[in-house]
């Protein structure tokens, strides 16, 4: 039995033990707590240093950015501003913080800025340009990109400001430079036009008077000298033309002059220009147009002619015998193809690629032998390409050359006024024609053309054989068309033989000749030819000639009186020359009076109007373009409007101009001028026009 004391001792021991246990556990817990605390602290440090690094990065970015950065709250108050923007605005950050962000902008940009902020709030970002205003009232143009981000539930808006003063300046300079370039170009154009005129005007004088001297009574030696002068002048003129053309093409100033034109006229006129040169060289100039080629086209006829002229000119230059043929075809509905083939010296295939580059000729000796600037083909290429066409060349040495151009086939918008009337063809239907020509190609072309008109064509290569045909056979023909230059029996001799054989039953005969010599013509008419047409044969001429020949009964040929070269229709036909340059005026007067007219001179448009108003005698006006007081275009329009009286509203006005650019032609036509002569004026052109106007025969 435990005593009370023992019991209490036991209880005490139990309590003590419990207390010790509690103390021990307390210590353990303290230790655990201490460790936990330690760990926590370390974690905090780690996190803190990480955050600090992030903040440092941001701060560095914020401070070092070369663009200005402003942070502001949603309600528009600036929270922070980086050094760049402070420098820009010349304010410290403490001056900026707290102020409203709208105050940064110039008045006129406040609205835009507000809209941008709205956009940022909705979409998250915005970009715009605005001027910032400085305390001293000056402004800085800036480009601003704005964005927003969340930090601890707070929305912060950020604006990045970039000073675009320099950028604007550069843009401004670019614009000025562009304007300057345009002005320079315009100046260049003006220079070209002026130069064109300034150079041609004196050249006109040189060449014109050289021509006149050549036709006067001078010694053979002097004649030769003059011819050299003329030749030099011609070369100079062509060089100038080439340079001007090239210069224009170079500066891309080509604007196409789209007009309605007849392909036939275009080709015939081109060939006509070279007729004489070809005749002298004894090279046949021929053309053919395929049946399916549309004849009424819409295009830049001036430039097409320019190209054709160049190609034909080149062809002739390098050909000394044989023929030069220009053929037109319609390979597909959208294209017209013109091919110029010659039988000249050709060129070696290797240089084909270089041909169309400027300043290159087949070889150096070419320049010396054949002359030329080497610009022609490159100009042709550029012109054709501007039209949307192409140009190609092919050749073998000594086997001639072929130049092919294609251009878009655009039908004429309106019917081109035709000189041919359907009546003209009526009489040709079933007409029996005998064509004689020793050149097979010529013969073929003629046959094809006549057959297209509905004629019944027989052809013979030999004039001798033709003359030996039985009379019944010969008289069965309605018309005989013969070439002039044939071996043994030329055209004239053939005619004589026919007359001898058939007398009055000789069918009407037409002579085709390359020579434009008047004496030959007279001889032909004397021998009984009903018509003489010049090669290259023009359709219109041929048609007229045939119609004329078959209408007339055979007439006794009468020798026509030898009279001055040309006979004016009326005894007194007056021409008014309007030209301010006295030399050119005098030259024109001489040329025109040589044709049997009487020429008066007016020195400008105003004088011209006065002269016309004063006298009702003028049949034709030759109008220079550039004159003081009143220029040619103005004068012409006024005349057409009746300023010189109602009798003169329809008077033919022929422009004389040193400006040979196609747009000038157009302008003349629009002003009411009916024809166009390029200075230096030459006799041939003048004659053509006057004849065309029926002022001379």
């Amino acid at each position: 039995m435990s005593t009370e004391a023992e019991k209490w001792k036991k209880r005490f021991d139990r309590e003590k033990s419990a207390r010790h246990q509690a103390e021990k556990l307390l210590e353990e817990k303290s230790s655990q707590l201490f460790d936990a605390n330690d760990q926590l602290q370390r974690r905090i440090q780690l996190k803190t240093s990480k955050l600090r690094r992030e903040e440092k990065k941001f701060t560095a970015l914020f401070h070092s950015s070369i663009d200005g950065i402003i942070l502001f709250s949603e309600d528009g108050h600036i929270i922070d501003a980086n050094p760049t923007i402070c420098k820009l605005l010349k304010l410290s950050s403490s001056q900026l913080i707290g102020t409203r962000v709208e105050n940064l902008y110039s008045q006129e940009f406040v609205e835009i800025a507000k809209e941008a902020i709205e956009e940022v709030k909705q979409v998250g970002h915005a970009r715009f340009e605005a001027n910032l205003k400085l305390v001293n009232s000056s402004t800085i143009p800036t480009e601003i990109s704005a964005s927003k981000f969340e930090v601890d539930d707070q929305t912060i808006l950020q604006g990045i400001f970039r000073d675009i003063t320099e950028r604007n300046q550069i843009a401004q300079e670019l614009e000025s430079a562009s304007e300057a370039a345009i002005k320079a170009n315009e100046a260049k154009s003006l220079f070209l036009a002026t130069m064109s005129h300034e150079i041609r005007t004196p050249l006109n004088g040189i060449l014109g008077f050289t021509d006149i001297l050549l036709q006067s009574e001078i010694s053979e030696e002097n004649k030769q000298h003059l011819q050299l002068i003329k030749k030099s002048g011609d070369i100079l003129l062509s060089v100038i033309n080439d340079i001007l053309d090239f210069s224009r093409v170079e500066s891309q100033q080509i604007e196409l002059e789209m007009v309605d034109f007849r392909l036939t006229d275009c080709i015939e006129e081109t060939l006509d220009i070279h007729a004489h040169a070809a005749a002298v060289k004894n090279v046949d100039l021929l053309y053919s147009i395929d049946e399916d080629v549309p004849l009424e086209l819409h295009g830049d006829v001036g430039r097409i002619k320019q190209v054709l002229l160049n190609l034909v000119s080149n062809g002739l230059k390098f050909t000394s015998q044989g023929s030069l043929v220009l053929s037109a075809s319609h390979p597909d509905p959208a294209t017209i193809k013109l091919v110029v083939t010659d039988t000249g010296i050709g060129f070696s295939p290797e240089i084909t690629g270089q041909l169309f580059q400027p300043f290159i000729q087949a070889d150096a000796s070419t320049t010396r032998k054949f002359g030329g600037t080497g610009l022609g083909l490159s100009i042709c290429k550029q012109l054709i390409e501007v039209m949307g066409g192409s140009i190609e060349a092919s050749s073998l040495p000594d086997k001639g050359a072929t130049f092919t151009i294609t251009f878009p086939c655009v039908p004429a918008q309106y019917s081109v006024p035709v000189t041919l009337i359907s009546n003209d063809f009526n009489k040709l239907e079933g007409l029996k024609i005998l064509v004689i020509d020793d050149h097979p190609i010529n013969l073929e072309f003629m046959k094809v053309r006549l057959e297209r008109w509905g004629c019944d064509v027989s052809s013979m290569l030999s004039s001798e054989k033709a003359s030996e045909l039985p009379a019944e056979s010969l008289t069965s023909y309605d018309l005989i068309l013969t070439d002039m230059l044939m071996p043994n029996l030329d055209g004239l001799m053939l005619a004589k033989a026919m007359q001898d054989k058939l007398d009055s039953s000789t069918p009407p005969m037409i002579l085709a000749t390359s020579s434009r010599q008047v004496s030959e013509r007279k001889e032909a008419l004397k021998l009984g030819f009903k018509g003489v047409i010049y090669k290259p044969i023009k359709e219109v001429e041929l048609l007229k000639s045939i119609n004329h020949a078959i209408e007339l009964r055979p007439e006794p040929s009468s020798a026509t009186k030898v009279s001055p070269q040309f006979k004016a229709r009326n005894k007194h036909t007056y021409a008014l020359i309007v030209e301010d340059n006295p030399i050119n005026a005098k030259l024109a007067k001489i040329l025109i009076e040589r044709m049997g007219l009487i020429a008066h001179i007016a020195h400008n448009g105003e004088e011209a109007l006065a002269a016309l108003k004063a006298k009702d005698v003028y049949t034709v006006i030759f109008m220079d373009m550039q004159m003081p007081v009143m220029d040619g275009l103005t004068a012409s329009s006024q005349i057409r409007q009746g300023a010189a009286g109602s009798s003169y509203t329809e008077i033919p006005i022929i422009a004389m101009t040193a400006n040979a650019l196609p747009e000038d032609q157009q302008r003349c036509l629009e002003a009411g001028m009916s024809h166009y002569l390029v200075k230096p004026i030459n006799q041939v052109e003048l004659t053509k026009i006057l004849k065309g106007l029926k002022i001379v025969e």
Binding site: K7, D13, S17, A18, R19, A22
Partner: protein
């Protein structure tokens, strides 16, 4: 088992039957700990079993009854020691639901090694009826009942308590407020 169970049990025995009884059951139980318990300590579960059994013999009361009484007493002690836990709720059923979701969660934070029973609560039929499922390897369902009754008493509520055996070794308490 946490020491607090032992210290509260012995203090209950002391209050009801005197210190001599405490000595008696301690001596009879042959405890490795020697009967020296501190509330924050951890002691083998078998010791409380011995103590309870020996007390049951001594006072001739059935073990379940003893445990229920103990549970009831224990609740009040716990409520006194940790008033924050009972301040949270005002309704007994809410409180009981919280035992698992809040109280035991906090206990485990402080005493990760505590072996606590786990509860699943639901009110499938009505707001006033709680289905509380008790899981424990210790099978102290009676203590649980006592604690439940204790909590009801604390909130001045009366209820019917129904017990059913559930899956595994769980006991379902259906507490219906009256």
């Amino acid at each position: 088992m946490k020491g607090i169970v032992f210290t509260e049990f012995l203090s209950m025995v002391e209050a009801a039957h005197g210190l001599d009884m405490v000595d008696t059951i301690i001596d009879k139980s042959e405890l490795p700990s020697g009967g020296a318990y501190t509330a924050v300590g951890t002691y083998p579960h078998t010791e409380i079993v011995s103590l309870v059994c020996n007390l049951s013999e001594e006072i001739d009361t059935e073990v379940p009854t003893l445990l229920k009484t103990f549970g009831y007493h224990l609740f009040h002690q716990l409520a006194k020691a940790y008033p924050d836990f009972v301040k949270e709720t005002i309704s007994p059923l809410d409180f009981l639901e919280q035992v698992e979701t809040y109280i035991h969660v906090e206990v485990r934070k402080l005493y990760p090694d505590a072996e606590l029973p786990s509860f699943e609560c639901a009110r499938p039929h009505s707001e006033n009826q709680l289905y509380m499922t008790y899981h424990s390897v210790r099978h102290m369902e009676d203590v649980c009942e006592g604690l439940i009754r204790g909590s009801l008493g604390h909130f001045n509520a009366t209820a019917n308590i129904e017990r059913k055996k559930a899956d595994g070794e769980s006991e379902l308490f259906i507490i219906t407020l009256t």
